[in-house]
C-alpha cells in the first residue's frame, strides 16, 4: 500500500472505472458486519438443537482425513482432487478451444464453436449420465471417477474457452502491432505481451467458474464416488441426522470456496501490474 501516496497522475485510463481506495475504517466496519452475520448464523444453528457430537464423530470422514474402506481418498479430499484435476484438464481444453475460436482456419473455428455450443447447451447432469450410463451401451465403459472428471473438464472447458477468448479480444490491436514491429514472433507476443494482459481480464471470471466447478463436483456423487456430498447424504440417511450432515457439508464447501476466492484475489493483484499502479490512489 506504499504506492498509494506516490502516484502523481491518478487519472484512470479511459474505459476503466477508478479503483476507490478503502480506508482502514471502512475495512473495520466490513469485518464487524461479517462478524455479526456469522454470529447470527451460528446462533441460528445452535437454536436447531443439533447433535454436535455426531458431527464431530463424522467430521474426519467428511473432511477425508481417513481413507475409505477400499483404501481410496474420500470426502472433501476427493472433492478437491476431482476439482483440481478437472480444472487442469478444463484449462487445457479451453486454451485449445479458444485458439480455435481465434483462428483463421475454418475447420479449427468450426470444431471449436461446435464443441463449445454442444457442451454449453446441454445440462452438466445429462452429460455426466451420458458418459457414465449411456456410453457403456456402445461398448465404452468408464469408471465413475473417470466419467466425472471427463464430464466436468469438457463442460467447464467450453465455458472457460469463451472467457479466454473474450479476454484476448479485449486487448487493443496496437499492442500486437507494436510487438510485431519490434520483430517478435507470434508465440512470443502471446507469451509476453497480449497473454499476460489478457490474464488480468480472464482471472476474475475464471475464478468464479472454478468456484462453481468445486460445487458442481457434488454432481459426481451420483456416480458412486465417495466425495463430500455423497458421504454427507449417506451418513444422514443412516442416522437421520440430515440437518447436521448437510449443514456440515455446506460449511466445508463454503470454506473451500473462500480459499479459492483468496487465491483468485492474489492472482488478480499479481497480474494487475501497471494498471493497478494507476488505479490505486
Amino acid at each position: 500500500m506504499a504506492l498509494e501516496a506516490e502516484v502523481p497522475r491518478a487519472a484512470a485510463a479511459p474505459g476503466e472505472a477508478p479503483v476507490v481506495a478503502r480506508t482502514s475504517y471502512f475495512r473495520l466496519q466490513v469485518w464487524a458486519t461479517w462478524f455479526v452475520l456469522v454470529s447470527l448464523l451460528a446462533w441460528g444453528c445452535h437454536g436447531l438443537r443439533l447433535d454436535f457430537g455426531y458431527v464431530v464423530q463424522k467430521l474426519p470422514f467428511l473432511l477425508g482425513l481417513r481413507l475409505a474402506p477400499d483404501g481410496f481418498i474420500q470426502g472433501a479430499v476427493l472433492t478437491i482432487f476431482v476439482t483440481a484435476v478437472s480444472m487442469v484438464c478444463a484449462l487445457l481444453v479451453a486454451v485449445i478451444t479458444a485458439a480455435g475460436r481465434l483462428s483463421d482456419n475454418p475447420v479449427a473455428f468450426a470444431l471449436a464453436t461446435f464443441y463449445a455450443s454442444l457442451f454449453r447447451g446441454t445440462p452438466l447432469l445429462v452429460q455426466v449420465l451420458i458418459i457414465y450410463l449411456a456410453l457403456p451401451q456402445v461398448g465404452l465403459v468408464l469408471g465413475g471417477l473417470a466419467s466425472g472428471l471427463i464430464a466436468l473438464s469438457l463442460n467447464y472447458g467450453a465455458y472457460l474457452a469463451e472467457t479466454i477468448r473474450s479476454g484476448m479480444m479485449a486487448i487493443p490491436s496496437g499492442q500486437q502491432e507494436a510487438a510485431l514491429a519490434l520483430g517478435l514472433p507470434r508465440w512470443l507476443i502471446i507469451w509476453k505481451v497480449t497473454g499476460p494482459q489478457a490474464l488480468r481480464l480472464i482471472i476474475p471470471p475464471a475464478g468464479a467458474l472454478f468456484v462453481s466447478m468445486l460445487k458442481d463436483s457434488s454432481l459426481v456423487s451420483i456416480l458412486g464416488l465417495w466425495e463430500l456430498n455423497f458421504l454427507a447424504q449417506s451418513y444422514a440417511r443412516a442416522s437421520f441426522h440430515y440437518m447436521e450432515m448437510l449443514l456440515a457439508a455446506a460449511l466445508i464447501y463454503w470454506a473451500l470456496s473462500i480459499v479459492f476466492e483468496i487465491a483468485q484475489f492474489r492472482l488478480e493483484r499479481r497480474f494487475a501490474r501497471g494498471v493497478a499502479v494507476a488505479g490505486r490512489r
Binding site: A13, L180, A181, G183, L184, L188, R273, V275
Partner: protein, 247 residues
C-alpha cells in the same frame, strides 16, 4: 550506396477502397523523408507497408535487400531492422519502462540481460527519461510515453525509423519534447520516414517531402520546393488549409 528502401508501384485495397495507387518511392541511407497529406490519403498505410504491418496487394517492397511479402520469417527479419513509433505510443502497460525497452533485444536479438539493460538505460538517458526506468507507462505523461516508445525502438539498433504521426495524440505542450528527440536522431544520421502534420518540423528535418492525396503521390521535392513553390493545385490547397488552420 544502395537504397535502403525501394517501393515499386505498390497497390493496396481496403475492401473496395483503393488505399495506395501505384506508389513508388526510394529511400537512401541517412535520408529523412517526411510524408504529408490530408487524412485518409494513405500516408500511414504506406508507412505500414514498409515493415509489413500491412501487406501490399501488388508491386514490390524491398527493405535492406529483402523483398517483403514472401513469408513470415523474412517479414520478421525486416522488422528487426526497422523501428516504428506509433501515434498512440502502444507501450506494454504491464511492463516497466525498462522492461519495455529490454523485451525485444533480449528475446529477438538474444542480447544478454545485463547488456540489454545497459543498452536500455543508455537510450532512456538519451530521451531524458533515465530516472523513470522503474515506472510503469501509466505513471508517465503522453510526451514521456512517446519518448519511451522511441527509446524502445532504438534499443533494437534499427537501420530505419518509421514515425506514424508521433505527436498527433499529444497535448500541445508535449509536442516539442518529442520532436526535439526526433530531430536529434535526424542530426545523428538516422534514416527515417515520418508521417506528420507538423509543417515547421517537416521543413526543419526533412531532406525530401512527399505529398500524398487519395492514395497517390502527387508531388515530391525538397522542403523549399514544396513549401515555397508548390506546383500541383492539390498541394497548394493542402498548404493553404494547413497554414490558415494553424495561424
Amino acid at each position: 550506396m544502395p537504397d535502403l528502401v525501394t517501393i515499386d508501384r505498390i497497390n493496396k485495397w481496403h475492401g473496395s477502397l483503393h488505399a495506395l495507387r501505384d506508389v513508388s518511392l526510394t529511400l537512401a541511407p541517412h535520408q529523412r523523408l517526411v510524408v504529408c497529406g490530408p487524412s485518409g490519403s494513405g500516408k500511414s498505410t504506406l508507412l505500414r507497408c514498409i515493415n509489413g504491418l500491412e501487406a501490399h496487394d501488388s508491386g514490390q517492397v524491398i527493405v535492406d535487400g529483402i523483398r517483403l511479402g514472401t513469408d513470415r520469417r523474412t517479414t520478421c527479419s525486416v522488422r528487426r531492422e526497422v523501428g516504428m513509433v506509433f501515434q498512440s505510443f502502444n507501450l506494454f502497460p504491464h511492463m516497466t519502462v525498462l522492461e519495455n525497452c529490454m523485451l525485444a533485444p533480449v528475446w529477438v536479438r538474444k542480447t544478454a540481460r545485463l547488456e540489454a539493460e545497459e543498452l536500455a538505460r543508455n537510450y532512456l538517458e538519451r530521451v531524458h527519461l533515465g530516472a523513470h526506468a522503474a515506472k510503469y507507462p501509466s505513471q508517465l505523461s503522453g510526451g514521456e510515453q512517446q519518448r519511451v516508445a522511441i527509446a524502445r525502438a532504438l534499443c533494437m539498433a534499427p537501420k530505419i525509423m518509421l514515425f506514424d504521426e508521433p505527436t498527433s495524440a499529444l497535448d500541445p505542450e508535449m509536442i516539442n519534447e518529442v520532436l526535439e528527440i526526433i530531430m536529434g536522431l535526424a542530426d545523428g544520421g538516422m534514416t527515417m520516414v515520418c508521417v506528420t502534420h507538423e509543417m515547421a518540423f517537416a521543413r526543419r528535418v526533412a531532406d525530401r517531402i512527399v505529398f500524398m492525396d487519395r492514395g497517390e503521390i502527387i508531388e515530391q521535392g525538397t522542403p523549399a520546393q514544396m513549401f515555397d513553390a508548390p506546383r500541383s493545385d492539390r498541394l497548394k490547397a493542402f498548404l493553404s488549409s494547413i497554414l490558415t488552420g494553424s495561424a
